[in-house]
Amino acid sequence: MTLNTTRRKFLSGAGAALSVFVIGLNPKGVLATTSASGGNITPFLTIAEDGTVTAIIKHFEGGQGVSTGLSALIAEEMNMALEDIQWEHAPSDPSRYANLFFGGFQGTGGSTAMANSFIQYRTAAAAAKEMLLAAAAEAWGVDASTLSLSEGLILGAEQQAGIGDFVAAAGAMQVPEAPTLKDPSEFRIIGKEIRARRDTADKINGQAKYAMDVQLEGQMVVALKRAPKYGAKVASFDDSAAREVPGFIMAHTLPTGDAVMAYAQTTWAAFQARDALEIEWDMANAETRNSAAIKEELLGMVRTEPQFTGSATDLATASKAIDGSAKVVEREFYFPMLAHAPMEPMGATIEPTADGGVIMHDGAQFPTANNMVLGQVLELPPEKIQVNTLYAGGFFGRRATPNSDYVVEAALAFATTDRTRPVKLVWSREDDITGGYYRPAMAHRVRVGLDANGAIVGWDHRVAGQSIFKGTAFEPMIVRNGVDHSSVEGIADGAYTIPTQHVGLTDAVPATTVNWWRSVGHSHTGYVMEVMMDLLAEAAGADPVEYRLRYLDETNPDGARMATTLRLAAEKAGWGNDLPQGRARGIAAHKSFGSYCAMVCEISTDADGVVKIENVTAAIDCGIAVTPDVVRAQIEGGIGYGMGHVMRDQITLEDGAVYEQNFPDYEPLRMRDIAEVKVYIVPSTEAPTGVGEPGTPPAGPALANAIAAASGKRVTHLPMTSSDVEFA
């Protein structure tokens, strides 16, 4: 990443230097160059006079590899080496950097970064190439068709020159309306085995800058002492002990009443002062339940008639089919709340500018939301607000919430000062683990009727849990007929064709705040569907792979792609081959975010039944894998994230307070947990789809099915360690 100040200045619109070729969208959203629109361009790429090509990445880099992926699109169309593309984060400007799947909203999520950028960035790069060639053709008095561009050089029959020589002239050329994109048969970067992550160099020597690393002249650091229970409010506080902490500045109640803010000169002092605050809490509206009681409430809900129907088939029809079947397979499932716990705890810095505006320094997942929050809380017009997007130390969904929780906290912390000094909000790990916005706790109950041949004749699937989207600005997009689709996604809209399937949903009473968590609803529906498919195969006396294939209709693309992916995973894992004593395999397959992912988990168990995950073999169909090694990395990561949480993690409430505090009691996956992961990519010419999330849903059930194969034990209440599974 280059953070060179001239380019920054240029990006913010001041002095659009003519020595740089800039291509992007003009205010009308039309592809344009700097000179053609008087400099008001939000670029996708820039080319400097020295020939440096810089990709302007509209999504934040949180480890998912988007800086590499979007750079590869530019390298491809401009015939450059991926290693030669520089990059930087785009500024916040939803009018032109909107996520094409999010309406007029700039943000990253739902594994959409590549899917919504694939044509956009290639088009910009292809146009740049055509304009450079046109400029050179004019200068050399030859036909542009006799010229080519390669590795930053324009090559003619008699001449050659670096692209930098033509940046000024190219900027004055007519922008092609529909530049010719390469045919996939011509790709030499997209889909090729190249390892050249654009963010590696910064991240192996301590130079990468995250929100946590921002240090501005005169900044104050704020740490929050939060309400011990959801719904509790500050009644009063005493900061006399905090005043003894060297570096303490002041303490104020967060204007929402949810916390007290300790301001100090340094992070360490802020943490010490925060811990020294004595607070009286008003517990009148505080949550008082225990997780055990909430679990019983949720299971009670799936045992009765659901509140909403989320399928074309109603309950009565499905019940009738099941009641008349030869064999009924029935299970209840429970999923605890989960924290995202990205490695970098939340935080952001607000810096006042000379003109009365602010710059927010943040690993911003939804920059547009940052702008909106700052505008509202600080009562500033949009032109006075800038967002400087930094690396994010992981996110898994956490750096965006429907109400922009930590961004609001930072804004309120700044608003509570005289606004002359930068204010940096820092969360500790305890803030993160106890701070809400969890994957909601969910219960499922599934009843499936089979005929004498083991074929499914009816499926009654009920889900209960707290809705993520109801009551948020996103509700109109996600909620239909009372059903928050994110609570049931992956059941009826999966790759399987299941007859007479009813899906019902009951909303739970909120116990805390909830949020999208890597793979959202698929994080629980994938587990249920794939454990059920295994149980049904068992009831039918069929092989688990063969049984799944019966329900993948290969005359439709969904079924065909899933079947191919499933077969690839099975074949690569040696499915069906004999295993040594003490080993067992499980398989799972799930479609999410437009991608198809299947995996085989192989475990060993010792004499005491202690489980060790020996290897995982996965297959992914994500359409065109633009940067295959980044795809593999995301699936490796998704598997680790999915398995680690299913194995041992949960967020529990004791009398309404979160019990888990830090990593020792919210134990992350460790090096020893999974010995080996192999990922295979299904060759495809389809448009690219998501890779950040699809690896997570099948991971848990593949492990669960392996455990069942080893011991006959079906783990349906998570985490597995709470169901008496022991891991090595």
Partner: protein, 154 residues
């Protein structure tokens, strides 16, 4: 209280409040932010540095106890043979994802290679156990440690 710390070969005068962990002296007083804060309770390894050749959690080591010690951080690890090999292997295998844990991973990996030239998978499990990676880059870290050992062998 003014103390003098030897960090990456250079003496630095610092003035932390009593009881301040080395982590915060590095990050905030010396603006060496490559060493990361992940948990503050010795549970994640993001803050790993070398103190007199031992991989230590800087969130637990008090700055005032370290006068006279040799402290090495991620910013300088590349100048040691094992550090250079690890960085090269990390680059070849594109280990990083978000990168936030990687300073600590690299510091622990270098210590491992300093102790054991050709580590087994079991050695890797043992030495790297305290370094959590929420992005689950473990399989690549394992492969890259083996690769770094090969690079050092030449």
């Amino acid at each position: 209280m003014t103390i003098s710390l030897k960090i990456n070969g250079a003496l630095k005068e610092v003035d932390p409040a009593p009881g301040t962990p080395l982590l915060w002296v590095l990050r905030e007083e010396l603006a060496m932010t490559g060493t990361k804060f992940g948990c503050g309770v010795a549970a994640c390894g993001a803050c790993t540095v070398h103190i007199d050749g031992v991989a230590e959690r800087s969130c637990q080591a008090l700055a005032e106890d370290l006068e006279g010690s040799e402290i090495t951080t991620i910013e300088a690890i590349g100048s040691s043979p094992a550090g250079a090999a690890v960085q090269k292997a990390w680059t070849e295998l594109d280990v990083v994802q978000c990168g936030y844990c990687q300073s600590g991973q690299i510091m622990s990996a270098v210590k491992l290679l300093n102790d054991i030239a050709n580590p087994t998978d079991q050695d890797i499990d043992d030495y790297m156990d305290g370094n959590a990676c929420r992005c689950a880059t473990y399989v690549r870290i394992r492969a890259a440690i083996h690769r770094a050992a090969d690079i050092m062998e030449g």
